[in-house]
């Protein structure tokens, strides 16, 4: 494609790839970004929450110009059981003001803007280019083969930000060249449902473009480990769910049928009523966590973002980890460039930087969490059901004396989960996150 040789070739114009390209271009490196879609974002889907901090480090005050939807001022967790819901929530006036905490985002709108920042800094973006393989010389990655005519691209370093499947990191030998196990993957699907701005603000009790996020747990997922979500955009809602692939294979339920169950739930249906469905989308999320991380670097190659399993399910984090990792990948390559050394030993600096950052610290801290979630489909139904049972009995005035009622609540709790299991579950949940 190009005769010249680049300092870096970034594969994938997502959060990881663009953060890397932006960092490199600003550092004076010649960087090319290859994107298989017709534009950045056309292949990209997420539930829809983007945290502010990591992007702010790259583009100060980005919310003033970036196509974000709404700053999230209220967060709710809904524990569902049958038609009942226990709702927990946190509303913050500070979250509704600059610099904000997080935003709802539609990726097909956000990603082109983010890519533009890298282009403005001097990165070259080439769309409609699918990367087929790495090019190696004496074991060193020296470029990539694309599906374009004469489409070999040469670079000192390749940064694989090619998403959840990441064939590139597999072909480069950074992880085994076989499918990821089902217990490391989440399958997500969602609908974008259009509603007038005033209707959204009325239904969710919002004003001044502030937004709400709702995560739903329990019965509504029909026994599959995972959660559902409802996020407010400017003039639409993102409604969807993500469940473990191993559970989907066990329960033989279809993702879109689970989405229909969610839409019909009596607590959800009134919120989406009269809305116009604009798009149905799906994505796979790699949630193997720390034990499943690939080698993060090799001779002439680095991997970041979804391609490197960088997600934190407990905190709904992914795009922010990708941006941080992309930034650090860019920094490591700039240092390698200054040394004129692109060997694995030189690029190991990337892992060092990740270890000093929250990216690897958090992934390591939560290393038991993916296994815990993969094994806890049942718990994710039992405990929301228990919360609803307790709430219902507490709030019902039945004529039963309170002392008897409390005893009945305790008995019912222990019937749903005997004491040794209650203690065991608590212990394992704490150990997975602390």
């Amino acid at each position: 494609m190009a005769e010249e040789k680049f300092d870096a070739c970034v594969v994938g114009a997502g959060p990881a790839g663009i953060a890397a390209a932006l960092t490199l271009a600003r550092g004076g490196a010649d960087v090319i970004v290859l994107e298989r879609g017709s534009a950045p974002g056309t292949k990209n889907v997420m539930g829809g929450i983007l945290y502010r901090k990591m992007l702010q480090d790259l583009v100060p005050d980005f919310w003033k110009e970036a196509p974000i939807e709404r700053p999230i001022a209220e967060e709710q967790a809904w524990l569902t059981s049958g038609e009942n819901v226990v709702k927990l929530g946190f509303r913050s006036e500070a979250f509704a003001k600059e610099p904000y905490n997080s935003f709802s985002v539609l990726r097909a709108r956000f990603d082109p803007w983010f890519a533009q920042q890298a282009e403005k800094a001097g990165a070259m973006l080439i769309n409609e280019t699918t990367v087929l393989d790495v090019i190696k010389e004496d074991g060193q990655v020296v470029g990539v083969r694309t599906d374009r005519k004469e489409g070999d691209v040469y670079a000192d370093v390749v940064i694989a930000g090619d998403g959840a499947i990441s064939w590139l990191s597999k072909k480069a030998g950074l992880q085994p060249d076989r499918p990821f196990p089902a217990e490391h993957l989440v399958v997500g699907c969602k609908e974008v449902i259009e509603l007038p701005r005033e209707v959204i603000e009325q239904r969710f009790n919002l004003k001044d473009n502030a937004g709400m996020s709702i995560e739903l747990f329990g019965d509504v997922l029909r026994g599959n480990a995972g959660y559902a979500f409802l996020y407010t955009n400017k003039e639409s809602l993102s409604l969807g769910l993500g469940v473990m692939l191993n559970d989907l294979m066990r329960t033989k339920q279809k993702p879109y049928e689970l989405l229909d169950v969610l839409k019909a739930h009596p607590a959800v249906a009134p919120l989406i009523k009269d809305g116009e469905v604009r798009e149905y989308a799906a994505k796979m999320i790699p949630e193997g966590g720390y034990p499943a991380l690939p080698h993060l670097y090799g001779p002439g190659i680095l991997v970041a973002g979804d391609a490197a399993m960088m997600t934190n399910a407990a905190h709904r984090e992914g795009s922010n980890l990708a941006m941080e990792a992309g930034k650090l990948a860019g920094r490591a390559v700039l240092e390698a460039k200054a040394r004129r050394d692109f060997s694995a030993a030189s690029l190991a600096r990337y892992e060092k930087l990740l270890e000093q950052s929250f990216v690897l610290k958090d992934l390591r801290r939560y290393r038991k969490l993916p296994h815990f979630i993969a094994q806890s489909g049942e718990m994710l139904t039992v405990y929301p059901a228990m919360a609803n049972m307790l709430a219902e009995r507490f709030l019902t005035v039945s004529g039963m004396p309170k002392g008897e009622e409390q005893l009945a609540m305790l008995k019912e709790t222990l019937r749903m989960r005997p004491l040794p299991r209650l203690i065991g579950d608590t212990w394992r949940a704490l150990r997975a996150m602390l």
Partner: protein, 98 residues
């Protein structure tokens, strides 16, 4: 399509923009493996219902034009019997919201 309408996934996929090439980027490697497959998981796990079991034809039909490119089928087929490549550059699904 109204949010409370009961529709099939095929109707939902009608809302999605695609730019298709001529060739499928997906294929079943060996059809006899599907005949023996006890779970036919590809027909249930794929969020785009790309794979459909046809009792008449005794094989899995691949509706590759519906593919949202998640890659779930790669893991979801326990016999590694599905060949999945990304579509050619610029082809395939094109999300407008994402």
């Amino acid at each position: 399509m109204k949010a409370d309408e009961k529709v099939t996934v095929e109707e939902k996929l009608g809302l999605v923009r695609f730019k298709h090439g001529k060739e499928s980027h997906l294929s079943v490697i060996a059809e006899d493996v599907c005949v023996r497959c006890e779970g036919k998981w590809c027909t249930t796990i794929c969020p785009a219902h790309v794979y459909e079991w046809s009792p008449e034809q005794n094989k899995v039909i691949v509706n590759w034009e519906n593919c949202l490119e998640t890659g779930a089928c790669i893991t979801g087929c326990p016999y590694a019997n599905i060949q999945f490549q990304y579509p050619k550059g610029g082809k395939g699904v094109e999300f407008r919201y994402g």
